[in-house]
Each structure stands twice: as structure tokens, then as C-alpha cells.
């Protein structure tokens, strides 16, 4: 049998050594009535050739020929093929959490580099070894804020990614924490006036998108200052981390916690996962952080090396007192980001951000020529919402051509008729000027 290396003789011999009469006999500790008396009803075994044929059939049913014009939390970017070739080195991708640092220095040093990249891009002081995704990172940030402040009110901008807000709500359902949502204005920015009105002495944290779900760049510094004044933490949420190549890190703007996903670096869209969530904050909060942390130390001979550290925060030591229940995280996805960021480097990241910015301007101009204006007046990076009339109809029409046109904002804000015509679109380095031109024309007819 595939991947089972046992020969009949070996099975026989091993059973004897183990003192069992048969393979079934090995399971004598399972009471008879609890055993399965039949084979599992899963489809019959496929050989590798048939398996590939079947999987190709499925992959072929997806229509992904052109880069989608959809962002909305997952961004189509070019992943240099070298990333994958390094990622597939078995020593890296078949290891697990580096519990034994002497044989895990590869994973550990890469994690330390990941943490540093997250800090440099977000402008924060410390970062952890990755989170499941941006949404749960946001929820964990809110929980940390509640722990740190001892308060129970979370003030969340309505322009934070709706899926992140849903996950936050799920996480908070059982804690008794309260979520207050603050609306955004016609410019797509969070209404700072409204924010000021709800942030108070009970507020644990203010949560803002950066750029927000509408593609708009928020006045993050002002929101952070507002939170600070009330003794609350500020949390910035970033799903399109390429923006950090152009926009200041939240840490530079006085934010306390930066979370989100680095999917844009090194990770394909992959129908939504895996991708590495990140979590960064200031030094003073490290003992309340969730997740694994990699730290530098020395070995017995004084040579620098890396270990997982501060594990007294974690479930395997602290159990019900742990700062979170995270065990397995998004290691390999974080490694992919680390490799991609290593390749990009200082200039590459800036160039990539600039290129995304420019392509989005090409999109804006092309859409304008096609007769579609912007839904929001606020500043944007590589994503923006257009007024296209009936957004759902446009999406359905373009889908029939195999084009993924963007997402209708109305879907996420059913209560807001003003957003019925808004189509959220992205343009990245993958969207060539020709493709953008074509797209704008397709949207029109």
C-alpha cells in the first residue's frame, strides 16, 4: 500500500514481538461494540496517475486564467518561483514546531527573521511567530486589549473587513465583551466624530482597518490618539501588507497593536488559505501576547542561537491560564512571506508598493473613461470601490466571461442601499495596463 512500507513478513514478525496475534488483536483495548465492522464508505483507492487526473479535473473546474480584480482581504500577487523551491526543502516543510532547538535552528532563525520583518513593516516593537489568519489575529488582539485594560468594550470601525468583524464577534460571543461599531463617511474613512463619541473609560480598544476594507487609508494616528486619551488600546488591521511599502507602519502612528495577514508576500491566493496572520505590539505587552515567540539566546559554547521563548504564556505550560490556545500556527506560510520579503528587500518592497499604487491609478482612470466614478473620496492604495450601477449584475455578467470582477460591497453592507452600486476592485502588479483597459471595457458592456 502506498506510503505503508511494511512487508507481510515484517508485519508478522512485529506482531509476534508485540505479542499480538493479528492486526485486529492490537485493538483489543477497544470494546468490541465500538469497533467498525465494515470498511469505511469512502471512494476506492486511486493510483497516482488516476489521482492526478481526478485532481486536475477539479482544478480545471475552477476558472482562474486571468488574475482576479478582487482583493477584499486576499490579494493576487506574483510569487517568484524561487520562493516555492526554497519552501519545498524537506528539512523546512516537514519539520514541526521547533521544540528541540538544536535540530531546529533553521526554522527558528527564519522565525526570528519573520518577526523582524513584521516589526519593520508595521513599525512595532515585537511580533509573534504567526497567527492563523488576519481575522483571528484581530480577535486575539481584542482579547489581549481586554486583558490588558480590564475593560470590556471593543469599538470597531465598520470599515474593518466584514469577515474579520464576524470572526471577532464569534470569538467574543462567550466572553461577555461588547462590540460597538462606528460608521464610515462618504470618503470611506471611519467617522472620527462618531468614534470620539463612543470611546470612553470602558473602552478596551479601538479597531481600525489600514487600509480599510473599502481600500481607503484611514487617519490612523488620530484614531490612535483618541484611544490613548481614553486609556484604550488602538488596533490596526491590515490585509494588504504591500501597502507597508508606501504607508507608515501603525507603530509609527502611535498604534498599540498591529494585526492582519502577510498573504500578499509569498502566498498564493489558494482559495483563501493558508496565509500567515501577523501580530505585533509594543515590548511592554509581550507577556500578554498570544502565540509562539522566537527569541535569541546563546548555546553552551556561547554561540548565538534561537529558541521558542516566553512559553509560560502558552497553553502547554499554562493551560487554562494561557494567553491563547494557539498551538499549531501558520509557520510555513510565514516562511513563504519571509523568503519573499528577503527577495524584495528595501527597494523591492518600495517598488512593489509603488507599482501597485500606479496600477490602481490606471484602473481608476480606465474606469473613469468607461464612465464609472469612485464610490468613496478618501485616499486609497491599490484597491478602490467604483460606482457601477448594479454591482451584483456586473459581477454575474463578467463571471460568464470567466472574469472575476471584484466584490459588490452591498453584500457586506446589506443595510446600506447607498452601497448597492459599489464594486470593490483591486489592481496589482499582475494587472497589466492592457488587462486593466480590457476590464474597464468589460464592465461597461
Amino acid at each position: 500500500m502506498r506510503y505503508h512500507p511494511h512487508t507481510e513478513d515484517e508485519i508478522h514478525e512485529m506482531l509476534q514481538v508485540a505479542g499480538a496475534r493479528s492486526l485486529d488483536d492490537l485493538f483489543r483495548s477497544i470494546p468490541e461494540p465500538l469497533r467498525l465492522k465494515r470498511l469505511l464508505q469512502v471512494p476506492p483507492a486511486l493510483d497516482e496517475i488516476a489521482l492526478f487526473a481526478e485532481m486536475r479535473r477539479l482544478a480545471g473546474k475552477n476558472q482562474t486564467e486571468h488574475p482576479p480584480f478582487i482583493g477584499a482581504g486576499a490579494y493576487p500577487h506574483h510569487v517568484p518561483p524561487v520562493v516555492d523551491q526554497l519552501l519545498l526543502r524537506g528539512e523546512l516543510f516537514t519539520a514541526y514546531t521547533p521544540y528541540q532547538p538544536e535540530v531546529s535552528q533553521g526554522t527558528l532563525q527564519a522565525l526570528f527573521e519573520w518577526q523582524t520583518f513584521v516589526c519593520l513593516l508595521t513599525g512595532m516593537e515585537v511580533a509573534n511567530a504567526s497567527m492563523y489568519d488576519g481575522a483571528s489575529a484581530t480577535a486575539e488582539a481584542a482579547l489581549m486589549a481586554a486583558r490588558l485594560t480590564g475593560r470590556k468594550k471593543l469599538v470597531v470601525s465598520a470599515a474593518v473587513h466584514p469577515e474579520y468583524r464576524r470572526v471577532l464577534a464569534t470569538y467574543l460571543a462567550s466572553t461577555g465583551d461588547e462590540v460597538v461599531t462606528v460608521p464610515f463617511g462618504a470618503d470611506g474613512r471611519t467617522d472620527l466624530g462618531a468614534l470620539a463619541r463612543v470611546v470612553d473609560g470602558d473602552t478596551a480598544a479601538v479597531v481600525m482597518g489600514y487600509p480599510n476594507f473599502l481600500g481607503v487609508v484611514e487617519p490612523l494616528g488620530e484614531a490612535a490618539a483618541l484611544a490613548r486619551k481614553a486609556g484604550a488600546l488602538s488596533i490596526a488591521v491590515t490585509a494588504e501588507a504591500v501597502a507597508f511599502g508606501m504607508l507608515k507602519g501603525p507603530g509609527e502612528l502611535g498604534v498599540d497593536v498591529a494585526v492582519g495577514t502577510f498573504q500578499s508576500f509569498g502566498n498564493s491566493l489558494g482559495y483563501g488559505g493558508p496565509a500567515p496572520g501577523f501580530f505585533a505590539t509594543s515590548q511592554q505587552n509581550i507577556r500578554q501576547m498570544p502565540g509562539r515567540l522566537c527569541g535569541a539566546t546563546v548555546d553552551k559554547q556561547g554561540r548565538r542561537g534561537f529558541v521558542l521563548t516566553l512559553s509560560t504564556r502558552e497553553q502547554h505550560i499554562r493551560r487554562e491560564k494561557a494567553t491563547s490556545n494557539i498551538c499549531t500556527n501558520a509557520g510555513l506560510a510565514a516562511l513563504a512571506s519571509t523568503i519573499h520579503l528577503a527577495l524584495l528587500g528595501r527597494r523591492g518592497l518600495a517598488d512593489l508598493a509603488r507599482l501597485n499604487y500606479e496600477r490602481a491609478r490606471l484602473l481608476r482612470d480606465a474606469m473613469k473613461r468607461a464612465g464609472f466614478g469612485l464610490a468613496f473620496s478618501g485616499p486609497t492604495f491599490n484597491e478602490m470601490a467604483f460606482e457601477v450601477g448594479d454591482a451584483e449584475a456586473v459581477v454575474a455578467r463578467l463571471a460568464r466571461k470567466g472574469v472575476a470582477a471584484g466584490v459588490p460591497l452591498g453584500r457586506f453592507f446589506p443595510g446600506e442601499p447607498r452601497l448597492r452600486g459599489a464594486l470593490l476592485c483591486v489592481a496589482t502588479e499582475l494587472h497589466t495596463p492592457e488587462l486593466i483597459e480590457l476590464f474597464a471595457r468589460d464592465v461597461r458592456n
Partner: protein, 521 residues
């Protein structure tokens, strides 16, 4: 030109001549490379390892974006070419032990072979380039795959339905306990407590705490099992659920599970199954047939998706009928020949909602389904059987040398202790480190907590008898060396690029990131 380390070549020559012992697992010494941090390589000039269309420079961000939000290049980022990056990670990788390097019997983690074909499949452009928010018409392949996987996992676990969305085992637990809570809330009272045996993995109590439940720890018996009377004594109408890992973290089947479930159910509680050890039962028994109401899978364990240096995982959760209304979103449904995602609360008003953005770790779904399809019914059963055979073989071959704290039958893993080594002063940690010099990844150590000095060995079904024999040799040699040369054991590891690391120092003065000028020495 003197070597700054003070080391002398003649010493090296002498030393090299003496250090070619070969460990039981083949380990010897060879060239490895010291490698600075990426950031220590400097960021001179505009060197970059990517090839992008040049920005036209036409649209100026300063025209649109507030000046106070614009940043210059990040000075501390590295500036490396592609070759340098390749060498960096190639060299780093050589410092790691992975399954592809050698035996990795890390108990509770099911370090089985990760099929390379799965990597190729997950990278098929149709999967890799699919945006999670594609219109359903453009994503029928992904949806059908998810549907197939959901069906297969439900059948394998013996439950009517499964959600694929949780991102790892612990998030699966969280999701499961959320559903339990929602179930109780729907009945008017979330209840207060969750019962958890003392053998449980740390994620179980941590999960309950996250859900606002108080944890009541139950003592397992002298046979390593949880006994119905223990549960009965703790069970009342404040108890929302019990969380049981079966087989438990001692590798022992909780043979009273049916009775325990009855006790809990009788008082209106639910039974959560931590499915991390499902590998032991594949095709042989099903949690859904034992009284469990809900359980999580760890696809990165049982279904061989790569552990990736710590993740990503995938933690689908299977549920019994009574919990179906509470399943998180999205859910894939098949309507005629068409597949569709249910994403909105209005279609599932009792759903606990979303626990992860989008739909879960789809890349892991591809790999898990590939394995299930490749194995089929017989292969899945053989997986469970051979995983258990391998563990029992190792157990039988080591129990005369290492202390076995429980005589009870083992399934897929076996836990030893360092008790027999006590007189030598050699501890479980020393044994673990010395195994490195033999060429093996150490077992899980000091877990489960109920066992003092635990050495938890899970070989998995993908290892040959030959490998197990070598590992047994290594374990026996270490035990022998503990008697004749305990200091030699305590000095281990000697062959790895780093000797034992100072973990106390790491925690006392945490250095969690590079900064310019950083020195750690």
C-alpha cells in the same frame, strides 16, 4: 590573519580525526554553514532579489495620500540578490531535522510522511490562483473538492456533518466548544464548567477558558484511563461538556468512553472529542460511534499535510445531529450538480458564525483529500493498524530498558519515563538530546504532565521496521551510555550546529527581533 576565535588548526585536525562515530540513526558530522541574519547582511545600494516591471513614476502618492502617512524606504530591510537569498535559506534548512531527514517520533504530533504528490496537487494553477471570493460559477472545482472532503471526513469520523473552516486543531476545539456553548445557550443556559482529564493536551483547558468555561480537571486512573465513577462524581447540570482525547495522550484507549458519554449525556452535557489522535483509529473505530457529540480533526497530523515548521494546520470539526444547526459558516452545499457556499447567517440563524476569514486552509483540504483518495477504504484502515503496530513494536522492544508507567495496552503511541535512569542522573531531556547525536528527532518530552519525565514516542505508520530497529538501538545505546558515561549523555548534543541553548536567558531577557547593532553573546 590569525583566527579570531583563538582556535588552532592543529587542534582541529586532531579533533576531526577522532570524531567520526556514527549514531544508530546514521548521524555523523559534515559541513554546515554559519549564516548571519538577513538584516545583518547590510542593505547597501538598491540590490533586490525580485524582477518587477519598473514603476513608471507617473502617479505620485504625495498627490493623494496624506504626507504624514507616507513612509520612505524602510532602511533596515535587507538588500540581497536572489542567489544570496537562495543560499541563506538553503543553509538554514540544513540546520533543521525534518521528516525528510530522518525519524521524527514526536508523540502527539503524528509526524508521518508528507507525500510530495500532494504538494504538486495543491499547486495546480486552478487551485493556487483561485480567489476565495470568486463567484461560485468560477470556483466549482474548489467547492466540489470541499464537498467531497466534508463527506469523507464525516464518514471517517462517524458523524453526519463536518465544518472544514477551523485553521488548526486548537481552533477546531474552540469551534467545537463554541457550538457546545451555543447548544446550551439555545437551551437557555450556557452552563459553567467543562470536565477535562489530567492527561489532556494544554489546548483543551486553554480552549475552555477562551469560551469562558471553568475547567474541572479529572484524575485518570492507575491504568491511565478515565473512569466512569470519576466522571460521575464530577458531573452535574453546571457541566457543559467533557473533553476527551481518545486514545488519550498516553496512547491508551479510553475504553469506558461509552459509559462516560452516557453519564455526561444523562445530565445534559455533551462529549467533545479531541481528535488529534485519530490516526490510531482510522478505519478501525469511529468517534461518532462512541458517544462523542463533536470532535476536531488535525489534518496536518492524521492526513499528512505538512507540519511546515509549526503550521499551517487545518482543524475541521465533525458534529452529531444535535449540533448541526450551530456549525460555523461557510458551509458547502450541493444543489443538483452545482456547488455553493452558504455564507450568511440568515440561511443558518443558529450558526455560531465565522471563526476564520474566508473558508479555511483550502490548501490543506487538497492534500488531505488527495491522501484519502489515494488510500481508499483499505488503505485508511491499514493506516490505523500499522500506526498501532509500529508503536507496539517499539514498546515491546524498549520496555526492558525504559520504564513504562502504564502496562495498559498502547495504540498509536507509547509513553516511557526516565525512572530507570534515575541512579545515573540522566534525565528525559538528556536522553532526548543524546538521540540527536544518533540522528533521530527526540520524542515529545515531559508530556503528558501526569507522567513524570515522560518520553512520548509516536512512530506513525510510514516508518519501516528497519528504522524502528535503528531507533530502538539508539534508545538502548543511550540507556547503556547513561550507566557507563552519564556525562557524555549530558553533554549532548555534540553533532548539531548548536549545543544546548540557554532557554532561561532567552526568557529572562527576551530578544524577539533583530535591531541594528544587536549582539547576542
Amino acid at each position: 590573519m590569525a583566527n579570531p576565535t583563538g582556535w588552532k588548526p592543529s587542534m582541529e585536525a586532531e579533533a576531526a580525526a577522532r570524531t567520526f562515530d556514527v549514531g544508530a540513526g546514521g548521524a555523523t558530522r559534515g559541513i554546515a554553514y554559519e549564516e548571519k541574519l538577513l538584516f545583518e547582511r547590510g542593505s547597501a545600494g538598491g540590490r533586490s532579489g525580485v524582477s518587477l516591471p519598473a514603476p513608471s513614476g507617473r502617479a505620485d502618492p504625495r498627490d493623494e495620500l496624506p504626507a504624514e502617512l507616507l513612509r520612505a524606504e524602510i532602511a533596515e530591510l535587507p538588500a540581497l540578490g536572489e542567489l544570496e537569498v537562495v543560499r541563506h535559506f538553503t543553509r538554514l534548512s540544513a540546520w533543521n531535522h525534518g521528516i525528510d531527514t530522518g525519524f521524527y517520533p514526536l508523540g502527539s504530533c503524528t509526524m508521518k510522511y508528507n507525500p510530495k504528490s500532494s504538494e504538486a496537487l495543491a499547486r495546480l494553477p486552478g487551485f493556487a490562483n483561485a480567489h476565495p471570493l470568486l463567484p461560485a460559477e468560477l470556483a466549482q472545482g474548489s467547492l466540489e473538492l470541499m464537498y467531497q472532503l466534508e463527506r469523507a471526513l464525516s464518514e471517517i469520523s462517524g458523524f453526519p456533518a463536518t465544518t472544514l473552516t477551523p485553521a488548526a486543531g486548537a481552533q477546531g476545539e474552540l469551534t467545537g466548544v463554541m457550538m457546545i456553548r451555543a447548544y446550551h445557550v439555545a437551551r437557555g443556559n450556557p452552563r459553567k464548567k467543562v470536565l477535562i482529564p489530567d492527561t489532556a493536551h494544554g489546548t483543551n483547558p486553554a480552549t475552555c477558558a477562551l469560551n469562558g468555561y471553568e475547567v474541572v480537571q479529572l484524575a485518570s486512573g492507575a491504568d491511565g484511563r478515565l473512569h466512569p465513577e470519576t466522571v460521575r462524581a464530577a458531573m452535574d447540570e453546571d457541566v457543559a461538556a467533557i473533553m476527551i482525547t481518545n486514545p488519550n495522550t498516553l496512547g491508551i484507549f479510553e475504553s469506558h468512553i461509552a459509559e462516560i458519554a452516557a453519564v455526561v449525556h444523562a445530565k445534559g452535557g455533551l462529549v467533545y472529542g479531541d481528535g488529534a489522535n485519530l490516526n490510531a483509529l482510522l478505519g478501525v473505530a469511529r468517534p461518532g460511534d462512541m458517544g462523542f457529540d463533536v470532535m476536531q480533526f488535525n489534518l496536518h497530523k492524521t492526513f499528512a499535510t505538512p507540519h511546515g515548521g509549526g503550521g499551517p494546520g487545518s482543524g475541521p470539526v465533525a458534529v452529531s445531529e444535535n449540533l448541526i444547526p450551530f456549525l460555523p459558516l461557510p458551509q458547502v452545499v450541493k444543489e443538483g450538480e452545482h456547488y455553493r457556499l452558504v455564507t450568511e447567517d440568515r440561511e443558518r440563524p443558529q450558526s455560531i458564525g465565522k471563526v476564520r476569514e474566508f473558508h479555511g486552509n483550502f490548501g490543506m483540504f487538497v492534500r488531505a483529500l488527495a491522501l484519502i483518495r489515494e488510500y481508499g477504504p483499505e488503505g485508511l484502515r491499514a493506516t490505523g493498524q500499522l500506526a498501532v503496530l509500529n508503536a507496539n513494536y517499539v514498546r515491546a522492544r524498549l520496555k526492558d530498558v525504559y520504564d513504562l508507567p502504564y502496562e495498559t495496552d498502547s495504540l498509536h503511541e507509547v509513553v516511557f519515563t526516565d525512572k530507570a535512569l534515575k541512579p545515573t542522573g540522566v534525565t528525559t531531556m538528556d536522553v532526548a538530546k543524546r538521540l540527536i547525536d544518533h540522528g533521530f528527532h527526540p520524542p515529545t518530552v515531559y508530556f503528558p504532565l501526569v507522567v513524570h519525565g515522560a518520553l512520548m514516542i509516536e512512530p506513525t505508520e510510514t516508518e519501516t521496521k528497519e528504522t524502528l530497529d535503528r531507533f530502538v538501538d539508539g534508545m538502548r545505546q543511550v540507556a547503556e551510555q547513561a550507566k557507563t558515561d552519564p556525562e557524555g549523555v549530558k553533554a549532548a548534543p555534540l553533532k548539531s550546529v548548536r549545543a544546548r541553548l540557554d532557554e532561561v536567558r532567552a526568557a529572562r531577557k527576551p530578544i524577539l527581533r533583530w535591531r541594528p547593532g544587536m549582539k547576542v553573546e
